[in-house]
């Protein structure tokens, strides 16, 4: 029988390896980090034993039974992939080529001149977060003339720490109007007109997170013009393409318009929501360059940035996404399923407002219907949110944001009750 290799623990033969009392820890000064505001909500929800509890925290789609939804096109793609018996060799640093090409086409449109001329570089990233992080690192290293990134107020909570950690400075421009629960267009233009040249401006391509408030096309046009006049570097965050209106092209309209107008943008894409591939971490980062030669140089530098973080990206999700995007009947099925998800959300918005009225609420809830995408900025104040959580076990972030994806025909009545109760 094979000789078992003696464990070094045997050296201590029964003596408990407790460390001497005088041995202090390297970590005595490490403070307890505060829980993540968004993900912390889900954790609190899990601990709650109330059977009527509702999780409207993190933006993950749920079906009308409140269950996670694995898209049928995803299952089909997985079966196709499994049948191919592929190996598990490392991807290139920039990821799966088939995915990168399809990812760029999805955002920019098949016939986009940028893609045809090869003047974009698109790399596979660790979903939207990873994409933003690579972008932030790239700006930090190469965009040395300006260190400021201007975020809309409010923006996704993780934008600020990502850019800050990468060494950029964060500033803000007016975006949301709490009085109307809508877009403060004039306020935005005023602020943008003062942004120093070459600063980076972050724009949410569609389905603004957390407010659900998007500019209308004619407003986008004015913004594009002003941004060009101010000579700002545009960074689009597109995490919800397809999810906002249900139409892929419509949701990418702003991105494509800006490019048409000559903005050489940075773009982050996520497939977490629109393909339901959350935990597989599928995303893309694109830099639209002056020409193909510049794109090659930028690509080489992106690889240098990526390698010391994670070497090369994970295959599984990118392979699924690429299969869907590159297989016509799967692509068609996917468009239908995205449309379906977006529609369910639109229906829930309408139902919620109808139920609020039924409860007797006299407040104006039109914004719930006007806002777009997964999230709704209810207008609830922190104290009201706290009551909603404590008294009704409805979990949401303190800023009053709810994930409409967590609303179902089964719980919308209860939700309306709770919201009415804390706002009447």
């Amino acid at each position: 029988s094979p000789r078992r290799h003696p464990s070094p623990y045997r050296l201590c033969l029964g003596i408990s390896i407790s460390l001497p009392a005088c041995f202090s820890s390297w970590w005595s000064e490490v403070q307890m980090g505060p829980p993540d505001p968004i993900l912390g909500v889900s954790e609190a929800y899990k601990r709650d034993t109330n059977p009527k509890k509702i999780n409207l925290g993190v933006g993950a789609y749920r079906d009308d039974q409140g269950k996670p939804f694995v898209l049928s096109c995803v299952r089909k793609a997985e079966a196709q992939i499994a049948a191919k018996k592929l190996d598990k060799e490392y991807l290139a640093i920039g990821g799966l080529g088939d995915f990168n090409k399809a990812c760029a086409k999805l955002a920019l449109g098949d016939d986009n001149e940028v893609i045809k001329s090869g003047r974009n570089i698109t790399v596979q990233t660790i979903s939207g977060t990873g994409s933003l992080r690579i972008g932030a690192n790239f700006l930090s290293r190469f965009h040395t003339e300006a260190r400021e990134v201007y975020l809309p107020t409010p923006s996704w909570g993780n934008h600020t720490p990502i850019f800050r950690d990468a060494g950029m400075q964060l500033k803000a421009y007016t975006y949301y109007d709490p009085k109307t629960c809508g877009f403060d267009f004039q306020g935005a233009l005023n602020d943008i007109s003062k942004i120093p040249a070459k600063s980076v401006i972050m724009l949410h391509a569609c389905a603004h997170n957390p407010t659900g408030v998007d500019p209308r096309p004619e407003q986008w046009k004015e913004i594009a013009e002003l941004v060009k006049k101010r000579n700002l570097l545009v960074f689009f965050d597109m995490a919800y393409q397809g999810f906002a209106s249900g139409d892929i092209d419509r949701d990418a309209w702003a991105v494509r318009y800006f490019i048409e107008q000559g903005h050489n943008i940075l773009l982050s894409q996520s497939f977490a929501k629109n393909m339901g591939l959350y935990g597989e971490r599928v995303g893309g980062f694109t830099v639209v360059c002056k020409d193909a030669e510049e794109a090659k140089r930028v690509e080489s530098q992106l690889k240098i940035l990526i390698r010391p973080i994670y070497s090369n990206p994970p295959m599984n999700g990118a392979r699924i996404a690429a299969t869907i995007l590159n297989t016509p009947d799967l692509y068609k099925e996917w468009l239908g399923e995205v449309h379906g998800m977006a529609n369910r959300i639109i229906t829930m918005r309408e139902l919620l407002v109808a139920n609020l009225k039924k409860e007797g609420s006299t407040k104006n809830w039109q914004h719930v219907i006007d806002q777009i995408g997964m999230f709704c900025f209810t207008g609830l104040k922190p104290e009201q949110v706290e009551r909603l959580t404590k008294e009704f076990s409805v979990y949401m972030t303190k800023d009053g944001r709810i994930s409409m994806a967590g609303v179902t025909s089964g719980n919308v009545g209860y939700l309306a009750q709770g919201i009415h109760s804390v706002t009447k």
Partner: protein, 411 residues
Amino acid sequence: IMSLFGEVPQATPVAVFKVTNDFKEDPNPKKVNLGVGAYRTDEGQPWVLPVVKKVEKIIVADDSLNHEYLPILGLPEFRSSASKIALGEDSPAIQENRVGAVQCLGGTGALKIGAEFLRRWYNGNNNTRTPVYVSAPTWENHNAVFVNAGFEDVRPYKYWDAEKRGLDLSGFLGDLESAPKHSIFVLHACAHNPTGTDPTHVEWMQVAEVMKRRKLFVFFDSAYQGFASGCLDKDAWAVRYFITQGFEMFCAQSFSKNFGLYNERVGNLTIVARDPDNLKRVLSQMEKIVRVTWSNPPSQGARLVAVTLNNPELFSEWKDNVKTMADRVLSMRASLRAKLEALETPGTWDHITQQIGMFSFTGLNPNQVEYLIKEKSIYLMASGRINMCGLTTKNIDYVAESIHESVVNVQ
């Protein structure tokens, strides 16, 4: 319009991937790739472990699974079982609840998160001046990981003795003695990359003694557990010994090689702290770092590993698969050495069998390396490092003869 990126220079490609690239483009039918560190079968093919295929089917058939986000720190059953692999079932540190882990993107990701944490919280706050020592030579990405995490002072510690083709123990110990207190040392747990030269148990004990006395930080890089000797426990001896010596430490684990899951990016940063309270605070800060890097890790690979490690039958099958790989490498080592000695190739070749793991530091100089690449289409690293997995029963004669030629003809 003037481009904002007009001044972005073309970066040089990462060497190890360039070698594989050049290999791919070479039309010579006799070409051999001894570059990048990935296992190959005797047919020169990638190998998806039989146990992995089995578990993939199990996962596909499980309707209860979905693609939801993992927690920030990763899949709990992966983290705990992965740490057990490194520290052992009987680990007192685990029993004392002072071991935690962060699921990361491969070994690289684990090193990255560990490095980011150390820069923020070790030896003061945000102390970018803490020296980080990496072995001379070491995996070429170690340097970049720590520099990009903000460390300003990444230095080599003596390790490889080129003349005797072995460990420079006195140099190593000397650097440990002279390193500023609290310096961070990146240690290869087993199967040193690129030299294949590991300290003996006695030598590890000496290293540990100095590190404890001089309060140096232990950061193990464990990318080849199981792959070195074929035995998981044997390959983890150094890591476990350091635990008995009371160190708080990090161990970056990779499951790329021993599970063959290269492209799924399966890694684990194991954290050994003094007590559960310190551990808790450390993990809370790890979450902050992960959140601004990738938010949460990819689920597929971790799930695969977790299912395997937590099922006794599958675990046993995995160990067999690992042994299969390690055994093939050992037989190629024996074969290459025997052939070089039979050819009476000048020099000594026992280092081929004494070295351990996937790589061998052949001792070939850059000119000889260039000869092999240009004249023989045998691709290896400029350092003379070869991946033993690139050798097969079909190409080993050609490789041995070519090495012989290069040593005889090229100075």
